[in-house]
């Protein structure tokens, strides 16, 4: 009896270990490999068999962030750094707009007991389900006409299609979790709906709003299609900048890897620092 228990325990541990090893290989190996690649010199990258040990260099990062010597000589800001700034402006702007508009909307959906609120929720959700090109190909023609093509305003507006539904859905979930009593106390003190929202509820669900903002920021940051169609040189985002790293005289794998790492930074930071909150936010956005 005892030995069979031990055997079962060993088997269990073995199974768990195998599971974790598989998971680590699948999830982590690509990231680790590309991270290594970003510190390799060209010769180490094209070496076959692949090199796991090499003398690391920061050249790739220096090149993409500060430009080649030629670019520095020309006084030209490296494209990639400009792309990074564009992405920060576009995704940051889009999230701020979505938060200002989306939080009250989420509150109304969670608490308003509005007729048809369920339909509104599904409508909001359904904006995720169509192919982006259905909207942005014609939008390209419209933007050209009204001068929003390749503008920050145009990009921030179109990114609402990503950020606004996320903010609304996730914060609705968080609002629902707040006990109604908290609001009622405020109402009894004579507060109106807006002031209840701003003074009482927003502070209460601040962590939830923050995680909605982070998630919305990441998904907006990660988007390629909008930039591909609607951004020109002035507003080109970082995801486009990476495609650019693959250039004529060589696939600059090292620079591409470095750019990939830089572009993935917001997501990685969020994953590590706000892990539980992000997971809850993503879950609420989908489930509730």
């Amino acid at each position: 009896m005892r030995s069979s228990l031990t055997a079962r325990k060993t088997a269990r541990t073995a199974l768990l270990t195998i599971g974790y090893v598989l998971m680590a290989c699948f999830v982590l190996f690509p990231i680790v490999w590309i991270l290594m690649m970003s510190f390799k010199q060209f010769g180490d990258i094209i070496a076959y068999p692949p090199r796991f040990l090499f003398s690391p260099t920061l050249d790739n990062y220096e090149q993409i962030l500060f430009g080649s010597e030629a670019e520095q000589a020309a006084g030209q800001m490296p494209n990639f750094l400009g792309n990074l700034i564009n992405s920060i402006i576009i995704s940051g702007g889009a999230v701020i707009v979505s938060t200002l508009i989306g939080v009250p909307a989420a509150f109304a959906l969670a608490r308003g007991a509005l007729l048809g609120a369920v339909h509104v929720r599904f409508t909001v959700l359904s904006f995720r389900f169509g192919p982006e090109l259905a909207i942005i190909l014609p939008l390209f023609l419209i933007y050209k006409q009204i001068g929003l093509y390749d503008s920050y305003v145009g990009m921030i507006l179109v990114h609402q299609l990503i950020t606004l539904p996320l903010v609304i859905l996730i914060t609705t979930g968080f609002f629902r979790e707040v006990p109604v009593e908290i609001e009622e106390a405020a109402v009894l003190d004579g507060a109106g709906i807006w002031s209840t929202l701003i003074r009482v509820l927003v502070p209460t669900v601040m962590p939830g709003i923050a995680s909605a903002m982070i998630i919305a920021f990441i998904f907006s940051w990660n988007n390629l299609v909008f930039g591909l169609v609607l951004a020109g040189g002035e507003t080109r985002p970082v995801t486009m900048g990476i495609l650019q790293a693959m250039t004529f005289d060589q696939i600059r794998w090292g620079q591409m890897a470095a750019a990939a790492m830089v572009a993935a930074v917001p997501g990685m930071i969020a994953a590590v620092w706000f892990q539980s909150r992000i997971i809850r936010g993503l879950t609420l956005g989908a489930v509730k």
């Binding site: 670019e71 169609v229 004529f248 696939i251």
Partner: protein, 463 residues
């Protein structure tokens, strides 16, 4: 349907040969008029122009020169650099938006046939002829290889009129195709550099070796599904087999017996001597693969990869590479595709005079030589080839001194744009490339595939 075009389609007007630069140097006729004085380069001082550049060694060679231009003219230059595919997509989007974001941009005759049709390009003749803007004597337009310059002219009539009409772009470099090989390995295998495609087919099964990093394969060349396959690299083989997309009577030749033979041989070459995955190689993989030492022969690839092969920091074979002209076809014919990078001006530009001054400066003798020394290959001006520094640069390339230059000169004699101008030619060539790929991947037989493509292309022409 195609017959209808034939009556209007003169062979000479349809295609253009680039004419070897060796010959060009001798021609060198100058339209210079000594009466023209030097122009005022500062006339547009204070204006700004924006460029779209497609990533290329040319761009790297241009960047350090831009401050010189600004110092000379007071014109501020900004630019964007994009990889080829996203670059052309973005250019299409931007030109069609009519916003004039890019005052000038990198392009090529093939692309210009669509842009010119749309009215997005500014004809350059007016600027060249304007003595206030162009110092004709110093600019010396006769110094350009005539065939290369002529490839930028077109009357905007589909299927004809290339080399005539307005000038839509100025050439900045051109590439044609060649063999590159590993002398040490061929020697070890007891093989000679192939003179004909038949030679190459015969030796293909023997082309394998073991290297320090594992297997070394026989042949590498790009083989993706896009127009550069029938237009440039495999196009060189096709043309050596006597295939042109449209013959002198105006008939499509995509599924002619010669085309079927060339395609069959090409597919066999790749199947025999290339590794798995060769059916999806892009130009960058073709270049990088050869530079990494994993292949014995680079078949009909761009000759301007040579600077990469020769650079020890980018290449594992810099001391073991040779160049040879492309093999001869069954009838002893050699012909080759050509790619001419050009600069064109946006008709929606708001700074046309400033943009012109930039183009004039960029394509001037002095600036062109500086870009060549910075890695921009191959020169399009006779004066650049005659320049001792440029000559010294390429002299060391190859198995023996001067080899690269000899091969490049040989190929330039036969290189040309042997395709009818049409705004949707890229789409037709994409369809052709698809048929070649189908044949490689065993999707129907060669003849069926090519004839289906020809039928589709005929339909596109009918539109």
């Amino acid at each position: 349907m195609q017959r209808k075009h034939s009556r209007h389609t003169g062979h000479l007007a349809r295609s253009t040969r680039l004419v070897g630069f060796a010959a060009v140097a001798a021609v060198g006729l100058s339209v210079a008029n000594a009466a023209y004085a030097e122009i005022d380069w500062m006339q547009q001082s204070g204006s700004k122009i924006n460029l779209l550049l497609i990533s290329h060694p040319f761009v790297d060679s241009l960047k350090p020169l831009l401050p010189e231009f600004t110092a000379k003219t007071g014109i501020e230059v900004t630019f964007e650099e994009l990889a080829e595919q996203p670059g052309f997509e973005k250019l299409l989007a931007d030109l069609s938006s009519g916003t004039g974001t890019y005052d000038a941009f990198m392009t090529s005759p093939l692309n210009n046939w669509q842009y010119a049709t749309a009215g997005w390009l500014e004809a350059l003749d007016g600027f060249i002829d304007n003595p206030a803007l162009t110092d004709a004597e110093a600019y010396d337009i006769g110094d350009f290889a005539p065939g290369i310059l002529a490839s930028g002219r077109w009357t905007r009539e589909p299927m004809k009129g290339i080399g005539e009409g307005s000038l839509w772009g100025l050439p900045i470099n051109f590439e044609t195709y060649q063999l590159a090989y590993r002398p040490s390995i061929l020697k070890e295998l007891g093989l000679e550099v192939p003179q004909t495609y038949a030679d190459l087919l015969a030796m293909a099964p023997k082309l394998k070796a073991e290297g320090p990093n594992g297997a070394i394969y026989g042949i590498i060349t790009r083989f993706d599904k896009y127009w550069d396959l029938p237009y440039l690299t495999f196009g060189t083989m096709l043309q050596s087999y006597g295939v042109e997309m449209v013959d002198e009577e105006g008939n499509l030749q995509i599924c002619s017996p010669e085309s079927i033979a060339a395609t069959t041989d090409f597919v066999e070459l790749i199947r025999t001597a290339s590794p798995e995955g060769a059916g999806a190689f892009t130009w960058d993989q073709a270049m990088q693969g050869f530079a990494s030492g994993q292949y014995i022969i680079s078949l009909d690839e761009a000759n301007l990869f040579a600077p990469v092969y020769e650079d020890p920091s980018q290449s594992a074979i810099s001391d073991d590479v040779g160049y040879a002209p492309t093999p001869l076809g069954p009838d002893g014919k050699r012909s080759a595709g050509a790619w001419v990078w050009s600069m064109s001006m946006n008709s929606a530009s708001k700074n046309k005079d400033a943009a012109w001054l930039f183009l004039e400066w960029l394509t001037s003798k002095e600036t062109m030589i500086k870009t060549h020394l910075g890695g921009n290959m191959n020169p399009v001006r006779a004066s650049a080839w005659a320049n001792p520094d440029v000559a010294a640069l390429v002299e060391s390339w190859g198995e023996h001194p001067g080899q690269y230059r000899e091969v490049a000169e040989e190929m330039a004699k036969v290189a040309g744009v042997n395709f009818p101008p049409h705004p949707e030619l890229t789409r037709m060539l994409d369809r052709w490339a698809e048929a070649i790929q189908q044949s490689y991947f065993d999707n129907g037989n060669v003849e069926e595939n090519l004839c289906a493509a020809q039928a589709d292309v005929a339909r596109m022409l009918g539109n």
